[in-house]
């Protein structure tokens, strides 16, 4: 019975966290894109626009919900449901930290540890094509159909290099369970270089990592591969005919997919929650110093206020950051917070790269996209897999 209660609590917590994180991912994207383009982004709702996601949610919920008369109603309604459900399912196997002690109960920071965790993520991501293609088809509109077809073709093509790129770190770590993969990345070479897959011994997986990231951009329909929703050709692609909460469902699913794929990249290539250098050399103080540094900057700006309100808001935010930083020193919170800090830090860095690329690169043409997948990505991934397996076979005892 205890197992079921704990699982339900964990599931609710993870779903809530991921949905909130997806909403704030939108805020982060708008802010970062704005600063890349010398704008300020959302500022009106809350300090620095921090309440913007809430306002967006209220707006989308209260908007008029249109159903196109020509649409195939059942599949039209099924598609956004499928998209969100499949996006949320694969989080179940992703571990966010090591085994921890919470009020004397030992548990994993993970919903369930499957021995085929990596395969489950691949399976669910291969199923998520249906949400997009059904939406495009059921809307019964030319733009939506074209967007859906493009998206399906693109996702099928890029799934192959993605799976090939995933296979090579699996060969090195000899497991399909995320937890075991992270545990086998936890050592250090020469006492300070982490044994992450990108630095791993027989053959560093840096090429696999780059291939994985490129394929991930295409899998999640992001710039420079966002042909399915190229607005100057296809209005809004597969979700042209969707409005209100059904549109929000696709939007949320897209951002949850980005976060999930960043988590997977972190776990497979960047050592999950293992720190960048050993804790003997003081890596446990990194989160403390980062938060205290942020607090110091805020106190400095509070002492020289640029606006009238800054005199109060800046030191207040500074106190929050200082307290957050000091909680990393509390002995019984430390084993939970430090791994979580490294995991979230790496994942958000990758998510930032996703946004950064969106702000930097122009869109591909559709034939270029397909040619790139089949004539560069796929052979490169196969070559990487071959070299890795040869070196693993030669070095294994």
């Amino acid at each position: 019975m205890e197992f079921y209660i704990i699982t339900v609590i964990k599931a609710a917590l993870i779903a809530f966290t991921m949905l909130t994180a997806a909403a704030y991912m939108v805020w982060l994207e708008r802010k970062v894109l704005a600063h890349i383009q010398l704008r300020v982004g959302p500022t009106r709702v809350g300090p620095h626009g921090l309440l913007q996601p809430l306002a967006d949610a209220v707006k989308l919920l209260t908007k008029e919900d249109l159903n196109p008369p020509q649409a195939n109603t059942f599949y039209y309604l099924l598609a956004p449901f499928l998209a969100v459900m499949l996006a949320l399912v694969s989080i179940a196997v992703i571990p966010f930290g090591p085994e921890v002690d919470i009020f004397g109960y030992r548990t994993y920071l993970q919903l369930t540890d499957l021995s085929i965790g990596v395969l489950v993520v691949l399976a669910v991501s291969s199923l998520s094509v249906y949400g997009v293609s059904l939406a495009g088809w059921a809307s019964n509109s030319k733009y939506a159909l074209l967007g859906g077809l493009r998206s399906s073709a693109q996702m099928i093509s890029y799934e192959l290099p993605l799976a090939m790129a995933v296979a090579s770190p699996l060969l090195i770590h000899n497991s399909l369970s995320f937890r075991e993969i992270v545990n086998s990345q936890s050592g250090y070479y020469f006492g300070f270089i982490p044994q992450w897959s990108v630095f791993a011994a027989p053959f560093p997986q840096i090429f696999a990592f780059i291939l994985f990231l490129i394929a991930a951009f295409a899998e999640t329909n992001r710039v420079p591969f966002d042909l399915p929703e190229a607005e100057n050709e296809l209005v809004a692609g597969f979700h042209t005919e969707y409005s209100s909460m059904k549109f929000a469902a696709f939007f949320t699913a897209e951002y949850i997919n980005i976060l999930t794929i960043c988590c997977v990249a972190t776990l497979l290539f960047l050592g999950g929650w293992t720190p960048l250098w050993p804790s003997d050399l003081g890596s446990d103080f990194v989160p403390v110093l980062l938060h205290l540094g942020a607090a110091a900057i805020l106190f400095f700006h509070g002492s020289q206020p640029a606006r009238r309100t800054d005199k109060y808001t800046m030191p207040a935010a500074g106190v929050v950051f200082a307290v957050l930083g000091l909680t990393f020193l509390v002995p019984f919170l430390k084993p939970i917070l430090i791994p979580l800090f490294w995991f979230i830090g790496k994942t958000l860095t990758l998510a930032f790269i996703f946004i950064w690329v969106r702000g930097t690169l122009p869109r591909f043409r559709y034939d270029q996209l397909m040619r790139f997948a089949w004539t560069f990505m796929f052979p490169a991934a196969v070559l990487n897999l071959l070299v890795t397996s040869l070196l693993v076979a030669l070095t294994s005892k």
Partner: protein
């Protein structure tokens, strides 16, 4: 718990399979087939074939059926036209079908040797490692022959597709 899950997903599989035949629209049929494959994957998982379950989803539901759905959408196939549905066919067909199914079930029942009933969780050798070892030792020849067969099929597909260019 295992028995409840088995009954639930076995029912889903059978209902989806019947739905696959009954539906007139190709997309509905294709999606029902995906339902069959998904519930089969759950049944494999219940029997301890975890790798098989994942591969079932990746290969059948995630690759082959995506292609089916893709082609149906690309050709924009409409609903099937059904004509000449006589009452006699329905009246005779349903009892005949039931009788035929009963006959087949009885034949299979009597032809197969009696085997021990399956217990959930008894089989634990369905991990990727076990399957990989079996594929590359005991079943090496069938495995390699199948891969050559697939290679020939790929070459045939390329040759057929090139003719039109």
């Amino acid at each position: 718990m295992d028995v409840i899950l088995f009954l639930a997903f076995a029912t889903v599989a059978v209902v989806a399979a019947i739905n696959l035949v009954v539906q007139t629209h190709p997309i509905s049929s294709a999606l029902s087939l995906i339902g069959v494959m998904g519930s089969l994957a759950v049944l494999y998982l219940l029997l301890g074939g975890e790798f098989l379950a994942a591969v079932q989803l990746i290969v059948y539901a995630g690759a082959i059926m995506v292609l089916f759905v893709f082609v149906i959408m690309l050709l924009n196939a409409g609903a099937e036209q059904r004509r000449g549905k006589s009452i006699l066919a329905t009246l005779l067909g349903v009892p005949l079908l039931a009788g035929f199914l009963a006959l087949v079930a009885w034949l299979i029942q009597s032809a197969l040797p009696a085997s021990a009933p399956v217990t959930f969780g008894a089989f634990t050798r369905g991990t990727p490692r076990d399957i990989g070892q079996l594929l590359f030792t005991q079943y090496l020849l069938p495995f390699e022959v199948t891969s050559v067969l697939i290679l020939i099929a790929i070459l045939g597909a390329v040759v057929l597709a090139r003719k039109e260019i």
